[in-house]
Amino acid sequence: MGVEQKLGNMGIATTTLEQAVAWSRTNAMWPMLFGLACCAIEMMSAQAAHYDMSRFGMELMRPSPRQSDLMIVAGRVSRKMAPVLRRLYDQMPEPKWVISMGDCASCGGVFNNYAIVQGVDEVVPVDVYVAGCPPRPEALIHGVLTLYEKVRGMKFAEIKK
């Protein structure tokens, strides 16, 4: 964080600022429109009216990595797609998180063969793993809320300079 680099830990002042920053991050975290396979269909129904992820601040699925804070890897990552996924992760601006949705993204799932990367944590650092094949929309929303706990728990001190 910018202020942390400049002012260092100032007790009360930075904790209230942390809460303010955490509040602003968790209430408007825009995921990147990055559907790969079957989990993308469940992500779409989680985004649609019935389950409505917009209630949790995910109002828009931004197609370009420049305007997104969160990458939901929804689906199986093939060997040909892995470098593209890494490039998209690098092009996202800094406070960024990754949810690996579904078994195929988390550990290769039912496809244990030459074509699938066995777990997307070999390509991008993952914050939250959501189990299920495909996980129900409620499971994805539960994953999102666990990510929000992680974001709220972030202290400025440990943030990488």
């Binding site: 396979a37 079957c38 993308a40 269909i41 469940e42 689906g75 470098p83 593209v84 496809f111 063969n113």
Partner: protein, 409 residues
């Protein structure tokens, strides 16, 4: 982790026009991560301003090696992967796999199971057309259509979950019948769908069919004639929108489809608008089939009693010795299919979904090839997109209704 390979113009020079080599036209990636490619399809576009001079599709970004993986699994375990191929037509995939295995081992299926299979397959066709209608209307800026379609889709997913416990990847259809009988509330839920959905389809029709915006964006765009379709191996709604009346449910019926009377909608223009009309009419016909199948649902067993291939019901295991032996053998080693090679095809929402299954007498398929419709339907995209605007290309991709799990396998 290898980096992305650098592609220069000269190693594509046999594909692009010479104006690209002189740098007059722009080579642009409508790449794997793009909102309107309906999945991880990469189109290398050669653009002259907004006009698409050349479109070179590049697929394989979702290649899961299903055919190789299925060779390493027994027939029961391999079916689980069949669901994930065309993830919008999950019941259709397991139906294609089960019909292929039943044809190979010559297994009978009780009539009740066949009727329930038809009901679930037609509901899946309806749900797949809903996702197509929602996403391709969203590409044409009809945002609310996406929300309406996914609202209806929840009802169908509830029925699937009621039967099998899983919303999408049900694996409910097994070689020899079904996993178990449908629950009691099944009939009421499907009746409710049959009561409300025709009105919903009329709502979509009212919103889009005579909408001047939709007409400007879809009428006369992406034309394909019947001969071109057949030459490209295009099947399904795209072929029927070009005037060729070829529907596997009608012409090569399977699983009891010959007992139902339904119309196969065809148009002659063969453009994006004709495909929209054909798919909308197919949604109505699917409801008619479900109606007739539900009225005629016979009682009886849902699994064949040929226990060499079909696990016996749990109640019998405690009683008879053969059932225990069959059960134990089937779930540890799987059944040995006779030596031979067969090809059996079903009509998926996208076209002819065929399974070439070859067995060498062992418990595992020696070779299984999935003839998926989107693989061939996508090959006609470069022909359709010559000289159109990029915005029209988006409408054409929507009308082809590709599912990348289907294309890359």
């Amino acid at each position: 982790m290898p980096d992305i390979q650098e592609i220069t113009v000269d190693d594509l020079k046999h594909l692009v026009s010479e104006r690209a080599i002189q740098g007059e036209t722009v080579l642009l990636n409508m790449g794997p991560q793009h909102p309107s490619t309906h999945g991880v399809l990469r189109l290398l576009l050669e653009l002259d301003g907004e006009i698409v001079v050349n479109c070179i599709p590049d697929i394989g970004f979702l290649h899961t090696g299903v055919e190789k993986n299925m060779e390493a699994k027994t027939y029961q375990k391999a079916e689980v992967m069949a669901d994930r191929l065309d993830y919008l037509n999950t019941v259709g995939n397991t139906l294609a796999f089960s019909l292929a295995v039943e044809k190979l081992v010559d297994l009978d299926v009780p009539p009740r199971a066949q009727t329930i299979r038809v009901i679930l397959a037609e509901l899946t066709r309806f749900q797949s057309h809903l996702v197509w209608l929602g996403t391709s209307a969203l590409d044409l800026a009809a945002m609310s259509m996406f929300l309406y379609c996914f609202r209806e889709r929840e009802y169908i997913l509830d029925v699937m979950e009621m039967c099998s416990g899983q919303r999408m990847m049900t694996t409910y259809i097994r070689p020899g019948g079904l996993w178990r009988d449908v629950p009691v509330e099944f009939e009421a839920a499907v009746r409710n769908i049959l009561k409300t959905f025709p009105k919903r389809v009329d709502e979509y029709e009212a919103l889009l069919t005579r909408n001047p915006l939709m007409l400007d964006r879809t009428y006369g765009i992406g034309k394909l004639t019947g001969e071109e379709c057949l030459n490209f191996g295009v099947t399904g709604p795209m072929l029927r929108a070009s005037g060729v009346k070829w529907d596997l449910r009608k012409d090569r019926p399977y699983s009891g489809y010959e007992q139902y009377d339904f119309k196969v909608p065809t148009r002659t223009e063969g453009d994006v608008y004709a495909r929209y009309l054909v798919r909308l009419e197919e949604m109505r016909q699917s409801l008619k089939i479900v109606q007739q199948a539900l009225d005629k649902l016979p009682m009886g067993p849902v699994r064949s009693n040929n226990h060499k291939y079909v696990p016996p019901p749990r109640s019998e295991i405690g009683v008879s010795m053969e059932a225990l032996i069959h059960h134990f053998k089937l779930w540890t080693e799987g059944f040995e299919a006779p030596q031979g090679a067969i090809y059996s095809a079903v009509e998926s929402p996208r076209g002819e979904l065929g399974v070439y299954l070859e067995s060498d007498g062992g418990p595992r398929p020696y070779r299984i090839h999935w003839r998926t419709p989107s693989f061939d339907n996508l090959q006609s995209l470069p022909l359709m997109s010559k000289g159109v605007l990029v915005a029209d290309l988006v409408a054409i991709i929507g009308s082809v209704d590709i599912v990348l799990g289907d294309v890359d396998r």
